[in-house]
Structures are given as structure tokens and as C-alpha cells.
Point group: D2
Chain length 332, copies 4
């Protein structure tokens, strides 16, 4: 085992990041050391890179970002029993406390004390990453390696789509970033009768079409509600998945709603959905991927070597790239 | 049977109402004629009386208002089979079309083409009212007559409270108009572990205490979130029932929400709830009332003869009255 | 309009049936007269034909059987408003009373007083059939006519499959009569990750393969539990749909279960599922069929002219036929 | 801390048990040592005592039985962070593996590899018991000590009753052992409109009445279905909780059912329910107990000193005792 490794490092509380040689992560009795094969870039990573207001409050440099990846187990602590060297794994990077009400009632994905590896601790844009055994997800060898690196955002899509009834229903997806694009594939796979993809960016609309959305709409040039009403016999979409907001998938500004007209008289249910269920969503993803139900390739637009990380950030900013895969060992 | 009857009539598109002698309602083959024993006044009736903007758009005078009542069947059309003269009845006054998607999928309470008796057709502030057989609710003789006249708003409370898990959970009710007050009683009856009642009007707060809310809070003088957090071990209320808004229970202005902080990260579900389920809610109400699980008396503040209708409107405006019962035959 | 029509008639309480010239059905104010284009044969029809014990108790000859069909509206009563001459329709043949608890709480498909057209009243193995407006299902012209004639059994499959979570789960279907076969298609369409079809009859197993069951098993020659455990990583099927029993899809003998081992310790839920939801299932079927999600052709094995009805019964008895379509006007 | 303690010991694979002086339990880094204040006796303990067939297969003597208790923390391992000396606690005695599918999907209460303290490892009929931190339940001081000792079986009742809709519904409970008796109290607390208690043992029927079942029925002398039908307007009970079976609450013999008549045509759902949810049920119990919603006293029939354990076993066998509390330190 080497003593040092290459990693993307955010060294200071300022914009940018560097590729540096750093020490290998230290693992405890219940931790697993994984050699990263492929990582992938999330909008959150761009926030950290650009050092926006959210990042300034949340991130404590120096930090190795990166929370989407797959790799191979190369070492583990004494008390680890469920994985061994050579296992092909990914991980849930939300480390839940296990002791709050949410954790003790099956809602660990909204743990009050969650720590995110790659946000609150060193992450996966590196040759190696340390993960608690509890958070390791052993991968079925049938899962393609590229898909194995994007299970985190795919999980967001699966958790969102399966949070309500989708079979035989019409679904409108607002926002076609990577999670919105994945949601198109998932909604189709579980029997949505029509999938509407709504997106202002032309590159993303093109990918939405490749993901086989039934109808792709541009709110800047089309009357989206009218189009949907016409194609649904005047009923409107049964389900709306709001996946736009800011680059990190969240909107930071208040949204104004007329509750009487928009919610109450329509008998609508609004669900706030966050992260992925630990670990029900992971089982669901595995089942759908093994069964070959999801074609996610159109959403993977770039493959880069880790040394080109800053260039990847620029690609994301242009809006031309969707999901970018990062190869720590240069094979991107 | 008399040829004419006394009724509250809104004669013109203008504020006010009159007590007039009018013709008895005509009943069709599938209708039921009910002699009204007790009716009760809803905030909607005050809207109609005051002729506010909502009323100006919706109401087409002349109209007999009133959509909460109980009475006795005195006649019915040839094809009516499920009720007979002498039956003690109330009615669901939302007449659903039976043909829209909502009606055909068990969601008739949000029928697209609903007509409300007492709003869109002559209602129950009269000696007699005509009701389609399909909407008649036969009353168990064990139901007290006063409660039988307020099943419509009690149904709103029952439908709202039972729309989610309540047993062993803490419940905050914002707004203690009659429906909010009834919701206190219902939440307690179905096992809420703590009920917080939140209301600015001192009269209503006093009644909320009599309805046995565990904690009654005044947002004008108390830090409501802080009080609730303290009394729930820092967890906050499990369930919030928003029952304030305008006098008719609805808010007409948009409400601004920070979706990320208030909904998504908390994994919250927001349900828009309207009316009462046809007729599941009616069965539930009957079961709870027959079992003696609900003490609603504190919320019934006034009993008036129908001829004093305008005085009742003034009482409502002062904010001192809660539920007002109206006796068409003068015994109030 | 002709005065008489050709129909399959069960004239007496005895085995068999005849093709006879009979009077056209009389329609009431709220009824619709439909010219039958295609009908299809259910196992129940074979019970009636063979005059088994169930039929002896339930059927009161003379009777025109047949409860699966599509056709064209040719006349209707004065009060019918939602369909008109020329409309392409099918119908829910369970006529619910509308007045029992089940009907008034959205459970009309288990109405206590249900009458089934084709069982309790004259049905669709005829040139014309009379249907109450409430039970008519207007067909989208995009639905192929053959599929339009089998919506009743397809509805059983859709209602059963969608009665629980199916997406990303493994599903075992025991019994591959027509409803079991349709269930294969539906389960695949709504995201089942693996579908196991279990059937003793070789003809049916062959069709199950054509319906794209992932694995087809013969309990007579294979260890079904062992095969399923092996293919599910030792977990067993997540969902079992029991669709075998007797030819009419029901088992008349008691079944013995070890509740502790089979149900309680496994935390299993057993749902009794009957018929189709009125009319949610019909909307779901329409959505899936319009979206092209279901290929049902392999299950339609025979197409016959109505005059050959008895021959169709013989085909069913051999176990070689699955769904048989009947053309009243001879074009089968 | 003493070196030895008094405990109930099953020394050999044979009927009976002894009170012995044994070594104190050893605690690991993540364990907690609790001084037992009150334990209570479960039907399972009688199985172990009598050494029946179930016990012969499952139990490996020597064993200290006992899995219902409360006490005070007196020591803990280095890595324990959530409890401290002096805390008043109970514990979930099902120790889940944390790694099987059930554990990773919020179903730890049906963990495939569960170990039960008091069955598979030394339990609570002793002056001290060792418990993993993960399974400790910190008690609110508002919970009475006697109730604190019976949370395990109360949890079975709460989990069962809250497994479906109870509010405003009629509930029949078959079997009035302690869990059945607790279920009466819980069903009433969460709004059951009528509770029928069905039991052959006269002592238990008497207690069922004290628990305020609305109707107590003896299947040996009464026509239970007829009584329930009469008191529910011919509808039957909405919910049946089967809590009889053998003394340990489980039936070991197969049960024969006519699925068509009993399950399918009625659209019934049968749920297998086991244990208590970790730890949702514990939160629910705490909320109900703190709110004073449950009066469980009538079900606690005996209080004994631990040295009289064998006499308690005899009391249970007579059928006169219901829940028996055991005081290890002699204050029973």
C-alpha cells in the first residue's frame, strides 16, 4: 500500500481546488479503505469549487470533495465482517448518527446529525477513500462500472420517483439536470404512462429526448401547462417531480403558492424528498439495474482524468455537460 | 303539506338577507323533502350575507343559503328506495356529478363539477329543503340532534385529522374556528398524545381549553414554535393542521414558503384537504359520535330562532360566537 | 334496429347452451344498447356451460352469458348524457347497488348486492347487450379492438398487480390462465425486476414465455421454491400473486396454512383481491394500453364465430386454448 | 459493584429452573450494565420452564431467562455515549444483526439473524443484565415503574393495533392473554368505536371487562359471530386482532381457511405481525403512556420476589394470573 495518494483538495476557504499528493486516509476498527475506480461530479461539488455562500457556511477546508464513486476494497479495520479485500463497492456517503429519532424510526436519510463524506469529511475525488462499514454498498458484478459510480444521484431519482404511485400515471419532471434525467428513465421503467420533461437548457432537453421522455418542453418558448393539459385530456399531470431549483437541486429562495387554489381544492399532496432511503433505495436501484431496466448512458456526457478536474468544473459551468465521470487513475 | 314556508332569502346581489315566505321546494323522482329541525351557520354563510368578492363571483340570487342541518323526511320521489317518511336525516350538500374522473375513482369530494346545496342551489335555512336521495345521510337515533346539525363541519375536522397518522403523535392546530375546535376533540379521541391549539382570538382560545386541548397558545403574545419545541423535547409537532385562513377556512392570498428548509430537508408531507369523503367520513363520524368519543358542546355557543338570522350574523362578526344553531321553527 | 338477434342461450338448468334467435334487450331511461363487436370467454362461462355446482346455485336460466366485450352504442335511454350513438365502448359488468357501505366508501367492486351482467342478467354473447350508463366505459380509439374485448380480465390482472408495491421487486405468479398471463405483462410494465411464472400446463407455460416472464417453472417437474430462492439471492419472491385455483380463478376448498411460520414470523401481508376497482382500474388499463406498455397478443389463442360457441367450450376444456374471442357477427 | 448476583437459572435441558448465585455479566465496549428493578414474565418463559418442544429446539442451557424489565444503568463500556450511570432504562431484547436485508430496510424487527436476550443469551431474571447500547431504551421519568417493566409485551400490542386503521372502527380481539388485554387499552386509546374481547378463560374475561372492552364474549357459551354482527349493524368487525394461539401467542398448528369465501370475496387484508418496530413502537408507547392514555393496571395480577419464581410459574399454569411482575431484590 502506498503512503500517499493523488487527490482533489480544496486547500483554503476560497474559490478553486488543487490536485495534490496527500497522505492516505487512516481507517478505524470499523472502517473500509476503498481504491476509487470512478467518481462522478455533483452540482454540490461545483458549489464547493466556486465557494458560494452555501459552501462558505458549510465547508471547512482543507477538504477532499467527492461523494459519488465506486471502487475496490483494499483494506479494512479489525471489526469489519461484511466486506473483504477485492470486493467491488460503492457507498452511501450520508453517515447517519444512529441515535436520533429519525435514525431510530427508519428515517436515517433525514438524520438530524448527518455527516456527509465529501462535504463534512474527506471524500472520493482521490485515489483512496475511507468509509465506515455500515455505509458500504457491495455491488453486484452485473452492475456496469460507470453506473456503479453514479448510484448516489440515481438513488435520489429512484427515491423521488418511487415516493408515490407512478404506474399508469402521467409524470411531469421539471428540471433536467442529472437527477431529473435519471428520473425520466426510472419513471418509464416503473410504468409511467407519459413522461413530460421540462427544461430551459437546450443541451439538457436534447439529452431528455435521448432518455426517452415522451414529450420534452421548453418553458421559455412553450406554454407548458397548456401542452400538458392537451396531451392528458385536460387532466394535467398526475405527478410532478420538481427537480430544478439551483445547481445543487435545491432552491434557496422562498416559493410563493396559493394554497387554496393550488393545493387544497385540488386535494394535492406535496412531499419533501431528500437523499436516498438507507438502504431500501439501494436495493431498488440494484434490482432495476440488474434487470436492465435503466439506460442511463445519454446522461453521462464527459469522462475525464482526475488531473483535469478544474476543466470539468468549467464544462459544468457552460451547461453543456451533464454527468461527468472522474478517473483518479487517469483512464478517463 | 303546506304550500309555502319561511326561509332566509338572499334576494339580490347585495349585502344582507331577508326572512320571507316562499314556495316549498319541488322534488324530482329521486329527491327527498326534509323538514329542517336544526341548521347551523358556517363562515361561508357570512361571506354570502356580507356579499364579499368570493360571494359576488359564486352566488346567483335569489338564494336560500344554509348547508348544515338535520331534519325529518316528509316526502320523497317515486324512485327513492333507501329512506322513508319519518326518517331522521342529515345530508352531504356537495352534489357530485358522478361522471368525472374524481367521482369515478373514489374522490367525489373533489368532483370537478360539484354543486353545493345552499351555495349553488336553495339550502337549509328554511322550514324545508330538497335533497337528492344519493346525498341523504340517515342518522342513527343515538346521535344527539344538535350534533346531527353540524355533521358537515365536523366532517371537515374528521377528514382532516384522519388524513394522516395521529395515534401517539403530537398535533398542532392553527386556527380555532368551529372546524379547528372540532379537530381538537377528534384528535384527542383518536389518540393524539398532545394537542396544541393556536389562536389569536381570546374567546376561541377559551373554548379551545374547554375542548381539552392540552396546550392553548396565543401567537400574538407567545413564541409558539418555542413553546411547542419545549413541550415536545425539541422535536416539534408531528402533525400540523392548518385551519385558520379566512373565516371560510380558506386563505385567498399566496403563502410564501422556503421549500428547501421547510419541506425538503425535513422530509415533510403537505396534504391539501377539502370537504369530507363521500361517505367514508360520514361513517367515521357516526362511529365516533355513537361511541360517545366526542364532546362538542363547548363549540356550540348560540342557539337562535331563524327569524333572528341577521342578529346571528352580527354575533359572528364580533368573533364572540363560534357555532350558531338555527331553529327554523322558532325553538332556538 | 332489428327486432331479434342471435345469442348464446342457456335455456335450462342443465349442461350445454344453444345459439338462438331472441328478442333484443329492452333499455330503460338510464340504459345503453350496445352492438357487440367482440366478446371473450371467461372460465366462468365454462362453469355455466358445464352446469357445475357453483352454476347450479347461482344461475337462473334462461340466461345469455358473456361478460367481456366491446362494441358500439346504437341506442340509449332519455336520461343518458355521457355516451351517444356511435361511441366505441366496453363495460364494467359488476353492477353495484350504490347504497351499501362498500359502495358508499369507494369499495363498489366488493358491493354486497352486486349483480353481474352475463351471470345474473343477460350478457354479451349476443348481437346486442343492454348496459346501465353508469357502467359503460368509453374507449379511447387508440385501444385495439381485440384488447378492448378483454378489459374485464385484464382489469383483474391490473388490480391485482397494482394492489401492492411492484417496482424493483421480484414477483412470482402461480397459475397462468388468462389473468395470470396478463399479470406477467402488467408486472413487467410497472417495473418488476424479475417475474416468475409457475404453471403445470405446458401450453400455458409456452404462452408465459411469450409474455416474457423472466423464468417459467413447472411445479410438477421442478422444485419451485428452490429455483426462486436461487435466482433471488436466497430472499425468495417479494410478491406472490396466486392466480391458479379453479378454472374461474377461485379455489373452493379450504387451504391450510401454518400462520406462525408462513405469515407471522415473516411479517407477510396477504390481500384478498376481487374484480376490478370501479373505475380506477379502468383508467389504469387505459393509460397502460394507450402508452403501448402491454403486449397481450400471445394470450389470445382463438378467434371464433359465435355460432361455434360449443366448439370453443371444447377447446377450453382441452387446456390448449387461453383467451378465446367470440365474434357475434361471424367475423371470428 | 458486587462480583456475583442472584438469578433465575435454567441449568440443564430439562423442566424447571433454580435460583442461583452467579457471576455478574461481563460488558463489552458498547454494552450497558443495568441493575434490574422489575422484570415481568412472558408466556415464553413458561415454555422454557416447562421445557416443551419449542424450548428443546431453541434453548441452550445454562440460561438466565427474562426479556421484559426495567432498571437503572450502573456501568457501561468505553464507547457508550447515549446513556450514563443512573439512567432509568428498559431495552428492546431482540438484538438485530444490522446487516441483513430486513435490518437495512427498516424491518429490523423481523431480522433474519435476530438474537433474543433472555432466550438466546442471559436475560433479565437476575439482579443485573448486560444490554448493547443500541438496544437500550431510555425511559421518561413520567413512566410508572411497573409499566416500564412491561414495555416489551405492550409493544407487541401497540405494534399490532397501530398496524392498520383503528380510529372510528370496530375491533375484535381474540384471546385475552396479557398482549390481548393491552390491545384492548390501546385500541380504545386510539379511537376504536367498539372493542370486542373474546376469551374462553373466565379470569381473563373479567380482566378484559376491567380494561374496558365494550363487549366481552365467551366463545364456549356464546355465538360470537352472531353477537358481533348484531352489535355492528350486520357489518361484522372492521378489524380482527388474533392474539390467542398458544401461551406464547403463536399457534404451531396449521390453520385451515377458505380463501375464496373468507379472504378474496371480502377483499380482506391479513397481516402477519411480529414483535415491535425498532424503535418506532417504543416512541409510540412512550407517547401514549406519558399522555396517560393507557390504564394497564387490571392486567398486572401478581407481584412476586424473584426467589418465588417457581411459584409464579404455577400461578401462570392455573390460568388465574395474567401479567406477573418479578422483583429481583425481593420487594415484590
Amino acid at each position: 500500500m502506498p503512503k500517499t495518494m493523488l487527490a482533489v483538495v480544496k486547500p483554503d476557504p476560497a474559490p478553486g481546488a488543487e490536485i495534490r499528493q496527500v497522505k492516505l486516509p487512516v481507517i478505524g476498527r470499523t472502517d473500509v479503505l476503498v481504491k476509487v475506480k470512478v467518481a462522478s461530479i455533483c452540482g454540490t461539488d461545483l458549489h464547493i469549487y466556486e465557494w458560494d455562500r452555501w459552501a462558505q457556511r458549510r465547508i471547512h477546508p482543507p477538504l477532499i470533495p467527492g461523494h459519488e464513486f465506486c471502487g475496490e476494497v483494499v483494506a479494512h479495520g479489525d471489526e469489519v465482517t461484511s466486506v473483504k479485500e477485492g470486493d467491488f463497492v460503492s457507498a452511501e456517503m450520508h453517515v447517519a448518527c444512529g441515535k436520533c429519532v429519525q435514525c431510530r424510526t427508519g428515517e436515517a436519510h433525514i438524520c438530524q446529525n448527518v455527516k456527509i463524506i465529501g462535504v463534512d469529511a474527506d471524500g472520493a475525488f482521490a485515489e483512496y477513500v475511507a468509509i465506515p462499514e455500515s455505509n458500504i454498498w457491495k455491488l453486484d458484478p452485473a452492475i456496469p462500472i460507470e453506473y456503479a459510480s453514479i448510484l448516489d444521484p440515481l438513488g435520489n431519482a429512484v427515491h423521488s420517483v418511487l415516493a408515490g404511485e407512478i404506474a399508469a400515471r402521467t409524470v411531469a419532471i421539471t428540471g433536467c439536470g442529472p437527477i431529473g434525467l435519471f428520473a425520466i428513465a426510472v419513471a418509464r421503467a416503473v410504468g409511467a404512462s407519459q413522461v413530460f420533461a421540462i427544461e430551459t437548457n437546450a443541451h439538457r432537453r436534447e439529452i431528455a429526448g435521448k432518455m426517452k421522455a415522451d414529450v420534452v418542453l421548453d418553458p421559455a418558448s412553450q406554454d407548458v401547462p397548456a401542452e400538458i393539459l392537451e396531451r392528458t385530456g385536460g387532466l394535467g399531470a398526475d405527478v410532478v417531480l420538481e427537480m430544478a431549483g439551483q445547481p445543487n437541486g435545491l432552491t434557496s429562495r422562498p416559493i410563493s403558492l396559493n394554497f387554496s387554489e393550488d393545493i387544497i381544492f385540488k386535494g394535492i399532496t406535496v412531499q419533501g424528498i431528500n437523499g436516498r432511503r438507507m438502504y431500501q433505495t439501494w436495493y431498488q436501484m440494484t434490482a432495476l439495474l440488474k434487470a436492465g431496466k435503466l439506460d442511463l448512458h445519454p446522461a453521462i456526457t464527459d469522462r475525464i482524468a482526475m488531473k483535469d478536474f478544474s476543466r470539468a468544473m468549467e464544462r459544468l459551468k457552460t451547461g453543456e455537460a451533464s454527468k461527468i465521470l472522474v478517473y483518479p487513475n487517469g483512464s478517463g
